[in-house]
């Protein structure tokens, strides 16, 4: 019994290691052929195991899925080599999130996720850290979700005087078709 559980845990560990995107327990169950309950139990065990000091990685829950990630306190040491890798992918996701926030602010995480169709935590955290967005308030809706908007640094970064200077979609069309110049 004990070893059975250990084996299941080992399998799920391997699956989490191989994935690069968050995986929810239903998907892990499908991939591993285990029951959802077994998966959840194993993930809990793994989470606990990796939370120990001695481990440099941990299992974090992102947008309803699990992913293995280096612990935050180590990022400082890792950033030089790993911070810039894959930047095209990172920048695309970040830019997407930022554009949604800029054009639809104030907007909640849930709304962003429903627009992009993927979890937005990481990107929101990145943009917050970067000072391009900020919490602007709470939405008057169940759960009072946090709303995000752009910051002064955002304006500075994009050389805008004011948020009113954000170009509009019909500006794109104008440019594209060179209608009104």
């Amino acid at each position: 019994m004990e070893t059975e559980l250990e084996k299941e845990q080992a399998l799920i560990e391997a699956i989490l290691f191989l994935e690069t995107e968050p995986l929810d327990s239903a998907t892990i169950a499908r991939v591993s052929g285990l029951s959802k309950e077994a998966v959840e139990k194993a993930v809990e065990n793994l989470k606990e195991r990796y939370s120990a000091e001695v481990h440099g990685i941990e299992i974090v829950q992102v947008g309803g899925g699990y992913i293995v990630s280096p612990k935050r306190e180590l990022w400082e040491y890792l950033k030089e080599r790993y911070g810039k890798k894959n930047d095209s992918k990172l920048s695309k996701a970040a830019l997407e999130t930022l554009s949604i926030i800029a054009y639809s602010q104030p907007i909640t995480r849930g709304e962003i996720e429903s627009l992009r169709g993927v979890a937005a935590d990481t990107m929101i955290r990145l943009l917050l850290d970067r000072g391009l967005i900020k919490e602007t308030g709470k939405k008057d809706a169940p759960g009072k979700p946090i709303q995000y908007g752009t910051t002064k640094d955002f304006l500075k970064f994009f050389r805008l005087n004011s948020i009113a200077d954000l170009p509009k979609l019909d500006d794109i069309d104008k440019e594209r078709f060179e209608l009104n110049g």
């Binding site: 191989l18 690069t20 280096p70 894959n86 830019l95 997407e96 949604i100 990145l126 994009f158 979609l169």
Partner: protein
């Protein structure tokens, strides 16, 4: 089936096999013949093997020229050894007799050794037939000071991206993309002005003076903000510009409002 047909089929079969490169080279073919005839490698009946070897070669018409040369080289060697074996050997007790097959046998044994090693490597390679590894690096760490990441982005990239995101949405999620302004946008602008100026005029909120939508949204945004107790609004004269300041800010009655207007 006639006898002829069978022979032909055999020959064809052999040629086919040969053509399919069952043999990696002349040494491989020789080893095959030795094994097939259950011959002791240290005592090869050279004339018999030579005959069989040439027989195989006759069927092998289609192998590439490079290898063919190598196969014929070996044929020549075999014939040479055969002729040496036929020569009477003068027995000299002082000298060890050099078996003409010796060099070939050494070669065959060495080759056999590598064939064996190749098999071992193949087994090892089979283990590597499947690989299971992560396809790409783990998600990059979102580091705040990732300057390179942001270097070449301008506001048009942002709009373009937004446009792409929006147009890729399914119809149920579509919002009016071409709405010139929105109340949300005006509220954002209010936040910004509160932050940068502290207090400001309603006219500051109007970006496109000749756009009705712009004015209406600005009004609705103000009403919304008042409701949310984000701002207070003050008007010092009828139809005058409306002054807006943060809700919490203390204002001395009409006086303050007048000053504010005067400042603008």
């Amino acid at each position: 089936m006639s006898e002829d047909a069978t022979t032909l089929a055999d020959a064809k079969d052999s040629a086919q096999r040969f053509h399919l490169k069952d043999f990696e080279g002349p040494l491989d073919l020789l080893l095959f013949l030795i094994k097939k005839n259950e011959i002791n490698i240290y005592d090869i009946p050279i004339s018999e093997i030579t005959e069989q070897y040439l027989e195989y070669l006759r069927y092998a018409t289609k192998i590439d020229l490079d290898n063919l040369t190598d196969f014929y080289d070996m044929a020549a060697t075999l014939v040479y050894i055969k002729s040496r074996m036929l020569l009477p050997v003068e027995i000299d007790l002082d000298e060890e007799i050099e078996d003409p097959r010796r060099v070939l046998v050494d070669k065959l044994i060495e080759y056999q050794k590598f064939k064996k090693l190749t098999d071992l490597m193949e087994e090892k390679g089979m283990e590597a037939e499947w690989i299971i590894e992560r396809k790409k690096i783990q998600r990059p760490l979102p580091f705040p000071d990732d300057e390179v990441l942001w270097e070449q982005i301008d506001i048009w990239d942002l709009l373009q991206t937004f446009s792409t995101v929006m147009t890729s949405l399914t119809s149920e999620r579509i919002i009016d993309l071409y709405e010139e302004v929105s109340i949300n946008e005006k509220m954002t602008l209010i936040d910004e002005l509160l932050e940068t100026k502290g207090d400001f005029m309603f006219s500051d909120l109007i970006v496109h003076r000749n756009s009705m939508m712009d004015v209406v949204c600005a009004f609705l945004a103000i009403l919304e903000c008042v409701k949310e107790r984000v701002i207070r609004i003050l008007q010092n004269k009828l139809f005058g510009d409306i002054r807006i300041c943060a809700y919490g800010e203390r204002i001395e009655n009409g006086n303050g409002a007048g000053e504010g207007t005067g400042a603008h």
